[in-house]
Symmetry: C2
Subunit: 333 residues, 2 copies
């Protein structure tokens, strides 16, 4: 691992994206999102995934010249087609539009179909929170898990972000419906370590903490067993209906994941509860949580997004922590 300044990473990623054929404004914007994700400690959807993204542009899975366009509009809800363009830029534009819609309506919703992987769900939640909105967004994905009781992967891990603005830093929940992502399973496998809790099934259908067995069986475990399985299913159904797009079933018939469906919701908090001292209320809730006695002596209780805020501060101060081998790969792109 090594530490590299924010600007240096952004500049380097911009260079690579320009070489891959993106126009300058898109290259800069896209590089910024990848750099921010890394700065927030989400390397799996930052620099670690960047070479893969560049490959997707080169082979045409991602069309860098496509622009998303509005297909239909009804009051505070709109459907957009991503035209298989750049996932993070399509998603950013969709959440910005949901925020705009919330300004006049209190709440705004955009369904985005036919788009590509947005990298980190939290990116678009944070965008809403910066605009004084609660941001809720989710995406469907290619099939990654079996539904509860089944042996074959059929449901996506369908990441969901919920972000709530607060003067002392947003509260951000950013979670996939699998107990552990494939990226996390791979990290544990490389370290030769067992998972802290069961994360899926082995080939014989027995729950296991062995990441290698889960990656081989393609049977990752949904959070809360039947509950996360059900939540993944309804998130897919809603993304499909609201965007008028493809479901996990249809996406999984393609060789590579593309043409996914996403939903972006923004709720304008400034308009709704202007009279209440919202911030003081939030802080009281958060402080109460932080002051709960830990289960084990040294543990600390954290609120969703607290780890990210700490990592961001440290990375901005000391340089962003990146894997040396991955950085070398990027320099050679």
């Amino acid at each position: 691992m090594k530490r590299i300044p924010f600007d240096e990473i952004q500049k380097e990623l911009t260079r690579v994206l320009l070489a891959a054929g993106l126009e300058i404004s898109k290259a800069e914007r896209c590089a910024l999102i990848f750099t921010q994700n890394t700065c927030d400690g989400v390397n799996s959807h930052g620099v670690n995934r960047f070479p893969n993204f560049v490959m997707d542009v080169k082979i045409g899975t991602v069309n860098p010249h496509a622009e998303s366009e509005r297909i239909s509009s009804f009051g505070a809800i709109e459907q957009w087609d991503g035209n298989r363009g750049i996932g993070p830029l399509n998603a950013e534009k969709a959440m910005k539009r949901a925020i705009e819609l919330s300004r006049g309506n209190g709440i705004g919703c955009v369904g985005l179909r036919n788009t590509n992987h947005w990298m980190r769900a939290g990116t678009y939640g944070l965008l809403a929170a910066e605009a004084d909105c609660i941001g809720i967004c989710w995406t469907n994905t290619i099939a990654l898990m079996p539904p509860w009781g089944a042996s074959e992967k059929k449901i996506g891990n369908n990441p969901l972000a919920i972000c709530i603005p607060r003067s002392e830093g947003p509260v951000l929940l950013d979670m996939a419906m699998s107990q552990f992502s494939n990226g996390k399973l791979d990290v544990f496998r490389r370290l030769g370590r067992q998972l802290p809790e069961a994360g899926g099934y082995d080939q014989n259908g027995k729950l296991t903490t062995d990441p290698d067995l889960i990656l081989k069986s393609h049977r990752a475990l949904p959070i809360g067993y039947w509950k996360g399985s059900g939540l993944a299913i309804v998130l897919d159904l809603m993304a499909t209906l609201i965007s008028g797009g493809d479901s996990t079933k249809e996406i999984s018939q393609r060789e590579k994941e593309t043409g996914v469906s996403q939903v972006f919701l923004a709720i304008d908090i400034s308009s709704q509860v202007a009279n209440a001292d919202v911030d003081a209320k939030m802080n009281a809730i958060i402080n109460d949580l932080l002051n709960t006695p830990p289960l084990k002596g040294t543990q600390t209780i954290r609120y969703p997004g607290q780890g990210m805020s700490n990592t961001r501060r440290e990375n901005l101060e000391k340089g962003i922590l990146v894997d040396s081998a991955i950085w070398k790969t990027i320099l050679e792109l």
Copy 2:
């Protein structure tokens, strides 16, 4: 257990509610909701909880004469005060209002504060689906679980319902953020059975499948460990902000659970995707799930709400299955 016709249960519950002081229209409406919940197999929030509800009316936790009222309005989003009235009727009115708001705006949202337990989350999701809307609603509760890593209960189990309309019957996810409800833990304890998966901690902070130890420690497990804990926290924060009401922290300072905060969202599907063959798409997704090979030989894969639909059909045909002792208690109320 015994089977009793739908009408007989509704009539009996109406009689008890009239005796408890409800006016006729409220008594009938409220009895209908309790009967429907039982008919759908959710006895824990149907007849089983009915004596408790009547007691809440008698001791004044629930004010049967209070009406909810609109406090503020901004576009497609409104805040209502439940005035500590009847939880199920306040919630029904709030979802109906969210549906109305969605008619002109595509999406509608109502935050309801200062209300009482709504019994089953799914009731209000189903209401939206019957009106051709996606229905999403959740409530906060008194503290029931420790946040992840903590030893004291501080977060609610904050039930969430998501319901999607479909001609062959709605898809309904209705889930609390705890892996098992207290009601479910109690059922297993009475039967002297272990839980199928770990459901909480013993007094020493060790995960256990023993329902008795979990009920004693007050340390129920959130779904997906840290993930369900985070989801419960953000659902509470959002309910508090959107309704302008009390959080789990404030509710837990009262002797009994009252004055909870709820959110109701309706998305008008008929307006949004009128051109797409939505129903065929939904059925294709559902059928694909149902046809997934099971993990074990005889298991069947189900979609969220399928069990409920089957139970409803059987109960309507043969009479609703209720606990004989509970029915005897109700007859004596």
